[in-house]
């Protein structure tokens, strides 16, 4: 799998993501500066977390207008895979590549803690190493992770099974207390219609090493690495 990590000014989890991708895929990802416009030959485009443009104006709004976004849209149009985490998820919604928006957390505070995520479907290229309904732990760290979409969009996401992950309790219940940021229907991550674009708020890339407290996030990167290696071999 050839992965590229897009670096906008203010992105700060680019190194974390590079470490996780390298650990799971065995290949060093290419770091792509936001002023570059060529993503030729890339299997997976990753937009990592951080504060692109300081989150000024609105999280992800300015990055969505950056030169590299043309190449990312083209990659999406080719049916390429894209992973957006945290600020990356916000950027994908601002760019219109995923539906909905990320609002301020319901309690209006930054939230940095572990959360538990339920895998809503295990038949995508991202989640094949999890079981459907499996609960895994992930760090999260954001001020604007409160997923919002209008009812029609939410119904469509649910009906077409495009919800990727939900905030749940340890035992898999999508309760209000497990939903710290106040997201609609406990949604932590969603897919595009072709299931090749995944956006999520938490940071599984920070939990791929037992030393850091666990490897719950590793199957996500193992899964996508394996899926795209197969593509390449075929």
């Amino acid at each position: 799998m050839k992965a590229a990590i897009v670096v906008f000014p203010g992105i700060n989890r680019d190194r974390d993501m590079a470490i996780a991708l390298e650990k799971c895929s065995g290949r060093t990802p290419r770091m792509v500066w936001h002023k570059e416009t060529d993503l030729e030959g890339v299997d997976l485009v990753v937009i990592p977390g951080g504060f692109s443009y300081g989150d000024y104006l609105r999280c992800g709004a300015m990055a969505a207008q950056s030169p590299v976004m043309g190449a990312i849209r083209a990659h999406a149009a080719r049916g390429g895979h894209i992973l957006g985490v945290c600020n990356g998820f916000q950027i994908l919604t601002e760019a219109g590549l995923l539906p909905g928006a990320l609002l301020r957390n319901a309690n209006l505070r930054f939230l940095s803690m572990d959360c538990h995520l339920r895998v809503e479907r295990a038949d995508t290229d991202f989640t094949s190493r999890y079981q459907t309904g499996a609960v895994f732990r992930s760090p999260m760290a954001h001020g604007d992770g409160n997923y919002f979409a209008d009812d029609a969009t939410l119904e469509r996401l649910e009906g077409e099974n495009h919800v990727a992950f939900r905030y749940v309790t340890l035992t898999g219940e999508p309760t209000a207390s497990a939903n710290r940021n106040g997201s609609a229907r406990n949604i932590a991550g969603i897919y595009s219609a072709n299931l090749r674009i995944l956006g999520l708020m938490p940071h599984p890339e920070d939990l791929v090493d037992p030393l850091m407290g666990g490897t719950d996030g590793k199957p996500l990167f193992d899964g996508i690495s394996a899926a795209l290696s197969d593509t390449l071999a075929a």
Binding site: R15, I19, F51, P139, A141
Partner: protein, 731 residues
């Protein structure tokens, strides 16, 4: 700004009559307004350390692993494998009182720049915070603003905030303390210093544009607060962490080349102190053309530009042949890059603006004739011993009260607003271990980091309290298995012109120095914040210590979380010292007696034994005994983990409440699979150790039979902050 320069104006700028006379003597004429401004900030307490220098010089600052001690932007220690850790702690107390969010945020920004200006990538932030009485609405507002400010800045720049401490005391009602610490990593042979060199070399300004914010901030930080402090709000700077992040990346990119001769951040007193210090250290002159300074506002005067404390700016002396390449790097990051002057052989700082010389000052006298005071000191009288104190509460009720009190309540409400995992190297997050553990990317090696001080001890006995602060930092690092290397200190005290305050300062330094020597734990950087009093009410003397240690293999680190099926062993001896304990304050309602003595030989001996046991793999969890004593420490281990514990009665001869809540120093609780082996090793080493009980999958059972569920303890421990901050109707 057409003010007449005279003694009255000098006084307004914080210069005494003597100091102004010295300015006249150096200049041989009446200084211009800009010159007076430069003298006043360079000779402010904040920049000149005029009251503290004579005492700071007595601190031990060397060890074989120390690469740069105090005097540089931050301290530098060798951590092995060709790497250096660069770290410092700095206060932003006064601004945080006036404008908590921006005061705290720019405190974090400032200390980050002190570290990356030396070539280090920042890998961790910590802090040490002191607030007033939680019952006051103002305290709540300040805590909320400071926590948001620290998070707002640190989270955005992408440096994990991994540790810190918080105390509450009415002495901080009008003067909270916000001390921020940054730790960075660099190759040990690629450290950047600030001494300018090369006559004719260009002086480059990079970063944010200059505005009118923060003018005279250093002077504000050098005076007591009065009722009008709120009016000083305009002197608080505004932080832009996004620009700081760009500045970090651009500077590190430039540092990977050979373009830099010298580099210095613009901190307190902005362009003035950075240019004066760089030229002064290098023994050269400097000429600045302020017309070239990137400006955010129009019609700024030379005085305003020289004294502005606008954030996120650096001054760099570059090799002339590398100027274009350097400029390209900063343009890539969309940051201003402007040549604003050059080095000269005149030994003077010359400042030009609109074709006029606005300042022309000889640098040597500005530095060498800076005031230095041997302020009178009055020793703090020794507190009479406490005498017997009867227990009216019982163990269980006292424990429940203690773990719920503001000083011991869980800080998770605070940590939950700090990104502690960004970077992907945080092995032990806040609360998981006595010192935070942050691994070095791509290596097994890790750093252990902590901040510590027990101000009530320092108030009661500044010398013992100073020693205790250093010893506790050493102990917290030791309790993870790491080897303590060095400290940074942040000396927060009240008005040094009062002999009793200066006495506190001198005695605290004595105690710290003794502990540093005994524990091989030198001071490599630091900061002094004086005049921390409002309307004549002094803060508790607070020499906050930031400690750094190294662990060769991060996998060896132990935390505090208890698991079932282990023996609990106490290392260190317990006399049952209740003087200045939290039990005495919270249960008996008294703040008196002398603080626990610190036996530095025992401290070293006990700690070296504990570290050895951890590194030999005999220890599953370890926690030092500090605030609240033994029983609180055990309760903390159960709350952090997945286990309860059954405790044995303490030794005969010590009253139960004194044994379980006394704050004797130099003690650790070890959770081990085999107590017999550890006790035998302790006996062999001559270290006092006893078995306290064992952990289990159930409740916490006290020696008097009281049983408490760990879930109930946790809920009591969590209540304070969440109720105070998140529930409506709280003060």
């Amino acid at each position: 700004m057409a003010k007449d320069v005279n003694q009255a104006l000098a006084r307004e700028f914080g210069l005494s009559a003597d100091e102004y006379a010295r300015v006249l003597d150096i200049m041989g004429r009446t200084p211009s307004l800009t010159e007076l401004g430069i003298f006043s900030v360079m000779w402010s307490e904040h920049c000149s350390y005029k009251s503290s220098r004579v005492w700071l010089k007595t601190l031990p600052t060397t060890a074989p692993w120390v690469i740069h001690g105090p005097g540089e932007n931050a301290g530098v220690v060798d951590i092995g494998e060709g790497l250096a850790a660069i770290f410092k702690m700095e206060s932003h107390n006064h601004p945080s009182f006036i404008e908590p969010y921006q005061g705290a945020a720019t405190g974090v920004g400032g200390i980050l720049r002190d570290v990356f200006t030396m070539g280090a990538r920042p890998i961790a932030n910590l802090n040490a915070l002191r607030f007033g009485d939680p019952k006051l609405p103002r305290t709540k507002r300040i805590v909320d603003g400071v926590v948001r400010g620290i998070g707002g800045y640190g989270n955005c720049v992408g440096v994990p905030t991994v540790g810190g401490e918080i105390n509450f005391h009415p002495a901080y009602n009008g003067n909270p303390l916000v001390n921020a610490m940054t730790v960075g990593i660099a190759a040990r042979d690629k450290i950047f210093l600030s001494a300018a060199a090369g006559i004719g070399n260009p002086v480059v300004y990079v970063g944010s544009k200059t505005g009118r914010d923060g003018i005279h901030g250093a002077t504000m930080a050098s005076a007591e607060f009065g009722k009008d402090s709120e009016e000083k709000r305009p002197t608080v700077q505004v932080g832009d962490p996004f620009t700081e992040k760009l500045l970090i990346e651009a500077c590190l990119e430039l540092m990977a080349t050979d373009a830099i001769v010298a580099i210095q951040d613009m901190g307190a007193a902005g362009l003035t102190s950075s240019s004066v210090e760089m030229a002064g250290k290098g023994g050269v002159g400097i000429e600045l053309d302020l017309d070239a300074v990137p400006q955010r506002e129009t019609h700024m005067t030379a005085y305003e530009m020289m004294l502005s404390e606008s954030q996120e700016r650096m001054l760099i002396v570059v090799k002339p042949e590398r100027r274009e390449m350097a400029q390209a790097i900063f343009e890539k990051w969309d940051l201003d890059f402007a040549v604003i002057g050059h080095l000269t052989d005149t030994g003077r700082i010359v400042v030009k603006h609109n074709g006029t010389v606005e300042a022309d000052i000889p640098l040597d006298p500005l530095a060498e004739q800076a005031p230095l005071y041997h302020r009178p000191i009055a020793e703090t009288p020794k507190r009479p011993s406490l005498g017997p104190v009867v227990d009216t509460a019982g163990l269980g009720a006292a424990l429940e009260t203690l773990i719920a009190c503001p000083d011991l309540a869980s800080r998770s409400w605070v940590w939950d607003q700090y990104d502690s995992t960004v970077g992907g190297q945080t092995v032990k997050r806040p609360g998981a271990s006595d010192a935070a553990i942050v691994k070095l990317e791509g290596r097994a090696r890790a750093l252990a980091l902590t901040t510590d001080c027990t101000p009530r001890y320092v108030l009661a006995d500044p010398e013992a309290g100073g020693a205790q602060a250093v010893a506790e930092a050493w102990r917290n690092i030791t309790a993870t298995g790491a080897r303590p290397l060095a400290i940074t200190d942040n000396m927060n005290f009240a008005n040094p012109e009062k002999p009793e305050i200066m006495g506190q300062f001198a005695a605290a330094i004595r105690g710290m120095a003794a502990a540093c020597v005994a524990l091989d734990f030198p001071v490599v950087s630091g900061n002094v914040s004086l005049y921390n009093e409002t309307e004549g009410r002094p803060i508790l003397p607070t020499p906050a210590i930031g400690g750094l240690g190294v662990l060769e293999d991060a996998a060896q680190a132990v935390g505090v979380a208890l698991t079932p099926g282990l023996d609990l062993v106490l290392v260190g001896s317990t006399a049952g010292w209740l003087g200045q304990s939290l039990w005495l304050r919270e249960i008996a309602g008294r703040e008196d007696g002398p603080p626990p003595p610190v036996d530095l030989a025992a401290e070293r001996f006990n700690g070296d034994f504990v570290r050895g046991q951890i590194l030999q793999g005999h220890v599953r969890a370890c926690h030092d005994c500090s605030d609240g004593g033994l029983l609180v420490a055990i309760a903390e281990m159960t709350m952090a983990g997945t286990a309860g514990a059954r405790l044995l009665p303490g030794p005969a001869g010590v009253a139960p409440h004194a044994f379980w809540f006394g704050e004797d120093q130099g003690r650790y609780i070890l959770a081990v699979p085999d107590a017999a082996a550890v006790l035998q090793a302790a006996a062999f080493a001559g270290v006092p150790a006893i078995r306290l009980g064992e952990s289990n999958a159930g409740d916490l059972t006290l020696p008097d039979g009281t049983t408490m569920s760990v879930a109930a303890l946790r809920s009591a421990n969590e209540r304070f902050f969440r109720a105070w901050m998140d529930e409506p109707g709280q003060a």
